[in-house]
């Protein structure tokens, strides 16, 4: 009797860092289009979940990718995942647009801050974090997503998930603690592999 091996197609992560490098080194427009195709709808989904109007979100996404094109050479692969760099850039463009919409005066030409990630720890990249998050129970991942991606307050999460406020807080704390510890664990593996 043979046991059928579970048939799960491996999901390859989107090679964002390679595309970014191609943009920086070779001004590769095809790579640029790939990045846009993958990230633009996701960034728009994230922006609109934050109660932004669609046309404003479209505009922020356009500006973000224009800056990706212009600033790709500032991305340092060893210091942060490409997705983190693009995400942070979009976040900064969002604030710049809000500043303009609300007519907040900035004296000497404030512009969009390009994430430099200078304080980032080389080994702690988002790829290992994504692996770390996979090890967490689904209920903890859900709550992390509510707080860190949808930006819900603890109270909003409690209402959405029908949980007592205290449970939300302790579950978040636990999830973060675990993510941090798992990151430490992956860091070890990385060091062992490299030595």
């Amino acid at each position: 009797m043979t046991v059928a091996a579970p048939c799960v197609a491996p999901v390859l992560p989107f090679p964002a860092a390679q595309y970014l490098k191609a943009v920086a080194d070779h001004r590769d427009k095809e790579a640029m289009a790939q990045l846009f195709q993958y990230y633009a709808p996701r960034l728009k989904g994230w922006l609109c979940a934050g109660r932004l109007a669609e046309d404003v979100a479209d505009d922020i996404v356009q500006e973000t990718f224009f800056l990706v094109w212009q600033k790709a050479h500032l991305y340092q692969p060893g210091k942060a995942a490409a997705s983190t760099w693009i995400y942070t850039l979009a976040r900064n463009v969002r604030i710049d647009r809000l500043r303009q919409l609300h007519k907040i005066a900035a004296l000497h030409g404030a512009s969009v801050e390009i994430p430099d990630m200078e304080h980032e720890d080389v080994a702690e990249n988002a790829l290992s974090l994504r692996d770390a998050l996979k090890k967490l129970p689904a209920e903890q991942v859900q709550i992390l997503q509510d707080a860190f991606f949808l930006g819900l307050t603890h109270e909003e999460i409690a209402r959405k998930r029908l949980l007592p406020l205290g449970t939300v807080k302790s579950r978040l704390r636990l999830a973060l603690e675990k993510a941090r510890n798992l990151l430490g664990f992956f860091l070890w593996i990385l060091l062992l592999n490299n030595s």
Binding site: R27, K44, W46, L74, A81, L98, E113, R180
Partner: protein
Amino acid sequence: VDTAAEQLLTHHAAGRLDVAGSLLAAAYREINPAAAATGGLYDKVSSSFLDNAPEMPLSAGAVDRLMQRLDTASDVPLANETALPHEHPSPYPRSIHPYLPRQRDGSLRWRSLGALRVCTLFKQNDGSTFSLVAAAPGKPLPQHTHRGEEFALVLSGTLQDERGNFTRGDLVYADAHIDHKPMAIGEHECVCLVLTRDKLKFTGRYGGVLNFLQGSR
């Protein structure tokens, strides 16, 4: 990094803050190493969800518009691009430099408000105020409660209230539940970057006058 500070950093990472909130969080991460580390981790947590984000189609022809724009963009300053020189040394976080109101001679525009000096960066439509507030040591600030909430990031000097002493890099939070009497202590003025959501309500002896002054500024 306490609960209020943690929430600020979380909302910053999630990209859900308004302009003043984002600048405050950026300044906090800039001058407090623990906040920088926490914020860095939070950015990674937030961005790790991007792959599974709900996808929303862009308006028709979005990618073509981008490509056209890239074609017309000047491609010149690529390598060796360096950040603009910053004012050094400055006690003020780099993030807020573009928002500091200056006089002709380049000095900051302060005005007096009782025992305080205030330099307002900007006010938002929702009534939030983003300012530098300087307090002389030894003079207790008027006791106040909050109708909204207040974040004070200490930039220099020492601030003391019922909860303890706070120095550069500390973020002090107060809301409607806290009736606090902060005071600068030590030898130097205490300067804070303060985000006030809705107006403070002064409750002490001169409260009425101060509420009036605040409303009239």
